[in-house]
Amino acid sequence: MKIIIVGAGEIGKHLAYVLSHDKHDVVVIDKSGELLEHIKEHLDVMTIEGNGSNIDCLIKAGAKSSDILIAVSGNESTNVVSCQIASHLGVKNTICRLDSKDFFSEKENFLPETLKIKNIIIPLHEAVRKILNVLDNKIVTERILFTNPNAIMTAFEVVPSSPIAGARIRDLSNIEILSHIRFAAILRDRKHIIPNGDTIIVPGDRIYAAGNKDKVQDVVDWNSTDNCRIRKVLIAGASRIGATLAKELYKMKYEVRVIEKDPKKAADFLDEIKAGVMVINGDPTDKDTLAESGADTIDAFISVMDDDEDNILCGIMAKEVGAKKVIVTTSKAEYAGIIPAISIIDCGFSKSIIAVNTVLRVLNLVSESMRVDAILSRANAFILEFTVHPESHVCGKRISEIKFPLSAVLAMVFRKGEVLSASGGLILQSEDVVVTITERDKISKIEPLFCRRSIFGL
């Protein structure tokens, strides 16, 4: 497919990387020649220096013959205008990145459709949702949702007191509570391990458990220690994410405190949020400020400032002071690979990877190519959903009979809304949706298994 990306920032760069490696024709537009130069050095894409909301520039990028335009520049208005121009020029699908829904109003009947924008993504909301999802329990580091609302993949950290610590996976098979879920992946020392019967679970592993929501929650609870609940939350930075997060948490009856360096921003924030949230004006990277805001008794410390380095540093400091769980967000996609190495930080979320995942999820709906859900925090692993085609190789076969690449794992199967554990004896039926975790270069090997059999194998 021919795809135009407006904006060569962190999101645009990463999207160009993923899409061009998936053999799409990618054109990137940005005002900054330097950013484009950088992209062009590393990727097989075409770059155009210019304004993405300029019609001539979009025509030059071949918008008239493109299938999709993804506007992910930092400027919301540019994104909206380039999507409008693109749909005027005949681009069938447009994806527009915004920071909020403030542009549109249902009351005034002014909706994205009015402007002929097909899809809107708000990565900020996704990031907030991601953070909220891990705030109920100390050991949970990530929750991944699927098209089936009953299914979930939860990543949790194995603590030394956990009943499964030190056990071999094969020996766990007779435990009732584990029989409905599947360990789909293990992250150990930043490396993606494919669990098999002989894998021994060690404390510190992050286990991705897939299955029915309730069943997975049971497993998580079973592995939790007693004091895993989170009540008090401290947010560093009253950025847009911080503000949204604080509001949501307040609604969910958490005890929320916010530290903001800039006095004016802090005052504005307090005005916006009204009451119930304590706002402290001070530098979050300052130990005294942290102590004053009660970081020592805090359950979760969330750092959402605009500066990546500040976030990482004050995350480390908060942990030193005594915070139980530290969550850090970063913009640079590169940092997402480093944060797991800092064992002090419990969860790191990359805003750009979240945004890329959001775009990819929309793209899958658009192209119906049964593609991708999420990137497993940069471990080069992808989670994909495939629909079993009635004429495919695997239809009517037992899972144990399917010849799967070694590095791919079948995590679970959705059948008519029901979530089934992908045990070896299960027979795949047509229209089943299977969830697999696999490395990037294996995708092309797995995809044909589930699709219609054809001579060229697609």
Binding site: S20, D25, K40, E41, H42, D44, M46, G62
Partner: protein, 508 residues
């Protein structure tokens, strides 16, 4: 630099060369070469193919993860790939006709770099009456065909060719393309570099087929028209006759070849746009305008200066210097040398000083960027010229802003600097190799200077002892190697070839 990654691609390249040599076998068979010649040709095709496959097996990526190619590897593949391709391509000359290694290497480098300087000579007669070496007409046709194929492969770039036809190479990014393509601005025609490469090769193929068609229409045999079309479209200059195109003595062929030489000196992107129906692009392009008007001016200036006196064709025939005749020979010669093809219909070395000097200056400039021609390129000349003027005006108005514009777009300072230093290095390389030739061969000053000009610019014939009626066969092997280096430097536009001499290039 990841040496294994580079060697992996180069082995594929060598295999490709081997396959191309084998591809000359049917031609050899049709042209009734002797069975021994054919067997030797087959053998010399199989050797690089086997070496290449061995290299592929040894250096292929160990794990499922393929190699990562970055700028350094890109330069490495192109610079070393051209040397490897020349080494593989010279095997037929050694095997089939018993060339010495340095002669075979010179001939192959000259072929791939689309220079067209030859060491195949039958004009040198030794004291005992025997001729030195074999002339073109004595060589097996299969080998002659391979010689022309080297032109055709090198014209658009061997590495770009492999990008276009070997999708499993998976060498992403622009590095390879940029390292091999010519000119300042490297426009991308399609989002993927492989599709851009395919488009350019498509245009190239189309031009070749068109020329073969027109030449055959005029009665040239298929074999000759193929060889000459390869030589023309690649702006190479190898002809299958010792007397070059003048040997046919046919005005129609002269005109067809002149037109195609001119077209091959133009930016191929403009040809592609024209095929899309945007022929106006030709007139809008500043570089092409410069190329066109200079060609027209040169044709008339040279024609005027040689009119009246007798013209001796490259086949040794004497013709009268009428207006039409002088126009015919001057237009062919001007376009041939300006587009850096190097075909000859007249022995221009016998012309007066002014047209000779003029032709040598044209050799320096060469055709347009994005074409198959060599030389400094019109675009670089234009930019250097504009920069020169802006500096003069800055003397009076030191604070004035002087933007250098090319095709109505302002050029970044970094590009201007690259152009200027290209100009400087080009001249330095020319001077150094002239000195080297003078030291090594102790020849006259015209030979020592025009030889490197012709090789560096990818032209072929120079003046005096390397003129259109002579060859490079008489030089000793060190001099030939100097010229080989010139040819590769010129074809890879200096920078790509010079980076491999940076110590940092080899470090991990």
């Amino acid at each position: 630099m990841n040496v294994r990654a580079v060697l992996y691609v180069i082995s594929l390249l060598v295999t490709l060369i081997g396959i191309c040599i084998l591809g000359c076998l049917p031609v050899s068979w049709f042209m009734n070469d002797s069975p021994t010649d054919m067997a030797q040709l087959a053998g010399s095709g199989v050797i690089p193919a086997i070496i290449g496959i061995l290299g592929y097996v040894i250096w292929r990526p160990k794990s499922a993860m393929s190699y990562k190619y970055q700028t350094r590897e890109g330069f490495g593949i192109v610079a070393l790939g051209w040397i490897a391709a020349s080494l593989a391509g010279c095997i037929p000359f050694i095997f089939v006709s018993g060339f010495t290694f340095h002669d075979a290497f010179f001939e192959t480098v000259s072929g791939f770099t689309t220079t067209g300087s030859s060491v195949i000579d039958n004009t040198l007669v030794l004291f005992d009456g025997s001729t030195l070496g074999k002339g073109l007409d004595d060589l097996p046709r299969g080998l002659i065909f391979w010689r022309s194929v080297t032109h055709w492969l090198g014209g658009m770039g061997i590495v770009v060719l492999s990008l276009a036809i070997l999708p499993f190479l998976k060498v992403g990014g622009q590095q390879l393309f940029n390292a091999e393509a010519s000119g300042i601005s490297k426009d991308q025609l399609a989002p993927r570099i492989a599709s851009t490469a395919k488009i350019l090769w498509g245009v190239y193929l189309l031009l070749t087929i068109a020329e073969v068609f027109f030449l055959m229409l005029g009665g040239m045999p298929l074999f000759d028209s193929l060889c000459n079309s390869f030589g023309t479209v690649a702006t190479g200059g190898f002809c299958n006759l010792q007397a070059s195109i003048g040997g046919y003595d046919n005005a129609y062929f002269d005109v067809v070849i002149t037109i195609f030489m001119f077209l091959s000196g133009c930016n191929f992107i403009l040809h592609f746009r024209a095929l899309q129906g945007k022929a106006l692009g030709y007139f809008r392009d500043e570089e092409l305008r410069c190329y066109f008007f200079m060609t027209v001016f040169a044709i008339f200036a040279v024609a005027y200066s040689i009119m009246g006196s007798e013209i001796i064709t490259s086949a040794g025939k004497k013709v009268e210097g009428t207006f039409l005749n002088s126009l015919r020979y001057s237009s062919f010669q001007v376009v041939s040398l300006f587009s850096t093809t190097g075909f000859a219909t007249a022995d221009f070395d016998l012309w007066p000083t002014f047209p000779r000097l003029f032709l040598v200056s044209l050799m320096f400039i060469g055709g347009c960027g994005g074409s198959t021609s060599g030389g400094i390129k019109n675009s670089r000349m234009l930019v250097t010229f504009k920069y020169g003027i802006s500096q003069v005006s800055r003397c009076l108005f030191p604070k004035s802003v002087t933007n250098i514009r090319f095709n109505h777009e302002r050029l970044d300072n970094s590009i201007v600097h690259k152009v200027l230093s290209f100009f400087f290095i080009y001249i330095m390389v020319f001077l150094i190799s002239s000195f080297l030739i003078a030291i090594l061969t102790n020849t006259d000053i015209i030979t020592a200077t025009t030889g490197p000009v012709a090789c560096l610019g990818g032209v072929g014939p120079g003046l005096s002892k390397v003129g259109p009626a002579c060859t490079f066969a008489w030089m000793n092997w060190p001099a030939k190697m100097v010229l080989c280096a010139d040819m590769i430097l010129g074809r890879l536009e200096i920078y790509t070839a010079l980076v491999i001499f940076l110590p940092h290039f080899w470090k991990k």
